[in-house]
């Protein structure tokens, strides 16, 4: 009887040990498959950028080899200087920065002021107006493309940065107002009420209390704005038609049409990739160095970038 029991216990222990080993094997296999999937996915998602960077330093003869020669040999950095000499590179960079700064300042100032009104001040019709703010988020930019173009054309603003900057000084977009309002609501009311008791007016409170406390949120929105304007293509394409006023993206497009052509040829690929790299540097640097704020911002705001 007891001998039979011992045998049963030993059998159960053996089974349990076998089960544990099986689970461990499954787990190890699973882990390895997991990393394999990650490595494959990462390679697929990284290759285009690496290929762009590597091709931008190559000679014509090297760009079409399969498998690609990832480290260029010989090294040919003058793809950059040659292309940059073929169009007003620095002027277009300056134009881009003028628009960036104009939009950043206008959007952050006006969106935060409007958001302050909606978050802190009580006035008749506030909720109804805020619902209108939210509903304008549904209006796609392209609906107003034609009328805005005609409007700014009548003002004589074509080939100036004004059509791209000025609308941003009027609230900066419903989404930004909404996000800043949500952020202001998380600031304790006691803080600005204390300032009010000390004799600050509403706008002094906004400027000296609310804005300084909102720098993290403003920073995140500044990153989004910077990337969005840098990437913008359609609006500058419509409004800026002279070499002296074009943004970097548009200037590169027109340089491509003239110097590279529509039918891509290996002879011009290194230069095309050099200019693609040039326009990619700024957003990638912003992303790398401000990644933590950026990712927090994406999570909080739900913007996909």
């Amino acid at each position: 009887m007891s001998a039979a029991n011992t045998a049963k216990v030993a059998e159960a222990q053996r089974r349990a040990a076998a089960e544990r080993t099986r689970q461990r094997v499954v787990r190890i296999i699973g882990r390895n498959l997991l990393y394999l999937a990650l490595v494959i996915g990462t390679i697929i998602f990284t290759i285009p950028t690496v290929w762009m960077l590597s091709s931008s330093f190559k000679e014509t003869a090297q760009v079409t080899t399969i498998p690609p020669q990832w480290i260029p040999n010989p090294w040919k950095p003058d793809n950059y200087s040659t292309s940059m000499a073929q169009f007003p590179f620095w002027i277009s960079l300056k134009n881009t920065m003028v628009i960036e700064i104009g939009v950043l300042v206008g959007r952050l100032l006006s969106a935060s002021l409007v958001a302050y009104g909606f978050a802190r001040l009580r006035f008749p019709g506030r909720n109804a107006l805020f619902i209108i703010v939210l509903s304008t988020m549904m209006i796609p930019y392209h609906v107003t493309l034609i009328p805005q173009y005609l409007f700014f054309r009548n003002l004589g603003w074509l080939n100036t940065p004004l059509p791209l900057i000025v609308p941003m000084w009027f609230g900066g977009g419903a989404f930004y107002i909404f996000l800043l309002r949500q952020f202001f609501l998380t600031i304790h009311r006691e803080i600005d009420e204390a300032a009010r008791i000390d004799g600050c007016g509403y706008f002094t409170t906004f400027w000296h209390i609310i804005l300084p406390l909102s720098l993290p949120a403003l920073g995140t929105l500044a990153i989004f704005t910077f990337l969005g304007e840098w990437n913008d293509f359609l609006a500058p394409l419509i409004y800026l038609n002279t070499r002296e006023t074009q943004t970097l993206a548009i200037a590169i497009r027109f340089w491509q049409l003239l110097a590279v052509g529509i039918a891509y040829q290996p002879a011009t690929l290194p230069q095309l990739m050099a200019m693609s790299t040039i326009i990619t540097i700024a957003p990638v640097l912003v992303f790398f160095f401000l990644q933590r704020y950026f990712i927090q911002g994406v999570v909080v705001t739900g913007v996909k970038g």
């Binding site: 997991l34 990393y35 999937a37 990650l38 990462t42 998602f45 990284t46 290929w51 762009m52 079409t64 498998p67 006006s110 002021l113 409007v114 009104g117 909606f118 001040l121 009580r122 006035f123 703010v133 549904m138 209006i139 796609p140 392209h142 609906v143 107003t144 493309l145 034609i146 009328p147 805005q148 173009y149 005609l150 409007f151 609308p167 009027f170 609230g171 509403y202 706008f203 990337l227 840098w230 990437n231 293509f233 359609l234 419509i238 993206a249 491509q256 891509y264 690929l269 095309l272 990739m273 693609s276 790299t277 990619t280 990638v284 912003v286 992303f287 990644q291 999570v299 996909k304 970038g305």
Partner: protein, 307 residues
């Protein structure tokens, strides 16, 4: 008594509440002006324009509904642009979500070097559209491109991609999927906030990993899935840069997106009235789709704490 009299004589704007209201209206005045001029004003102007024939040079000529009748009965290119954009959206939005969501689930398994993987996957999102278009124009170049080069080395003749009416739109879809990492960060945050006791509870009930995924993970992250779905639809109906740079809508109008068609009508044919009408149709489509998604998803989406 005297003070009461003074109180009564005060005007509304001299009271504390009045002062606050005035400050409030002042604070939101930039938005009010912006809304009246750039949103409401422009949409009304758009309506007006869509009933006219307007080539910028001559003054607008009122033609009633002619633009819309032409759009929906005789304009094959408009029908083509609707079809192309719809196919593109139906392919890009779910595929992009599946790619990003699976990746987020992989990254949520307590992997080492999380920020490295995340950075690699997210970086294409910040690559400007113009650079991404040029890169993929080359990767898919029929003769010298990377993809067809590899295909040739294993004995397969690759298609003409952006030069081939059948493959140009799939090429655009792949270009868009390269930027699918945008959803990853949102999904990862949502997955990390799923309470672990829910998983423990289903484990006790004997659910396997697959059942746990469908019973816990998907429902708990469904608000974020809905959110990215709506944004994805709105975004892909506004696709422009890739086809403008790579194909100009061709070959054989295979990549003629609505916004590209609007651009061509407005700035190449100078049919401003017609283009304004296209913009309004696009607006209506996006509005209807968003409302449909919101209504149908009410049954499918789980919001914690709302029962």
């Amino acid at each position: 008594m005297a003070s009461q009299v003074r109180m009564r004589r005060r005007h509304w704007w001299q009271t504390l509440a009045g002062q606050e209201a005035i400050a409030g209206y002042l604070a939101i005045s930039p938005w009010i002006i912006g809304f009246l001029v750039f949103s409401a004003g422009m949409i009304l102007y758009s309506f007006y324009l869509s009933f006219t024939q307007y080539n910028i040079v001559e003054p607008p000529k009122f033609i009633g509904l002619a633009n819309y009748t032409k759009m929906f009965t005789r304009d094959d290119l408009f029908a083509q642009s609707l079809k192309v954009t719809a196919i593109y959206a139906v392919a890009v939005v779910p595929l992009g979500m599946i790619v990003a969501y699976s990746y987020a689930i992989l990254l949520n398994q307590k992997v080492g070097g999380l920020s490295f993987w995340r950075t690699c996957f997210y970086m294409p999102v910040v690559v400007p559209a113009i650079a991404a278009s040029y890169i993929f124009g080359w990767i898919f170049a029929p003769q010298y491109g990377l993809v067809n080069g590899y295909l040739r080395s294993i004995g397969i003749q690759g298609p003409g991609w952006f030069g081939d009416p059948t493959w140009a739109l799939p090429g655009m879809v792949i270009l868009a999927l390269w930027g699918a990492g945008g959803g990853l960060i949102l999904y990862l945050a949502a997955l990390q906030s799923v309470p672990t006791d829910l998983y423990d509870a289903t484990k006790v009930d004997g659910a396997n990993a697959w059942q746990r995924f469908w019973a816990v993970t998907v429902p708990m992250t469904s608000p974020v899935l809905l959110f990215t779905f709506i944004l994805g639809i709105i975004g892909s109906f506004q696709a422009f840069t890739g086809s403008y740079l790579l194909t100009q809508g061709g070959p054989l109008n295979a990549t003629l997106f609505i916004v590209l068609y609007l651009y061509q009508k407005g700035w190449q044919d100078l049919s401003m009235g017609y283009a304004a009408g296209i913009g309004l149709v696009l607006f209506t489509i996006i509005l209807i789709l968003t409302v449909i998604v919101m209504i149908t998803s009410r049954r499918l989406v789980y919001y914690a704490g709302t029962d």
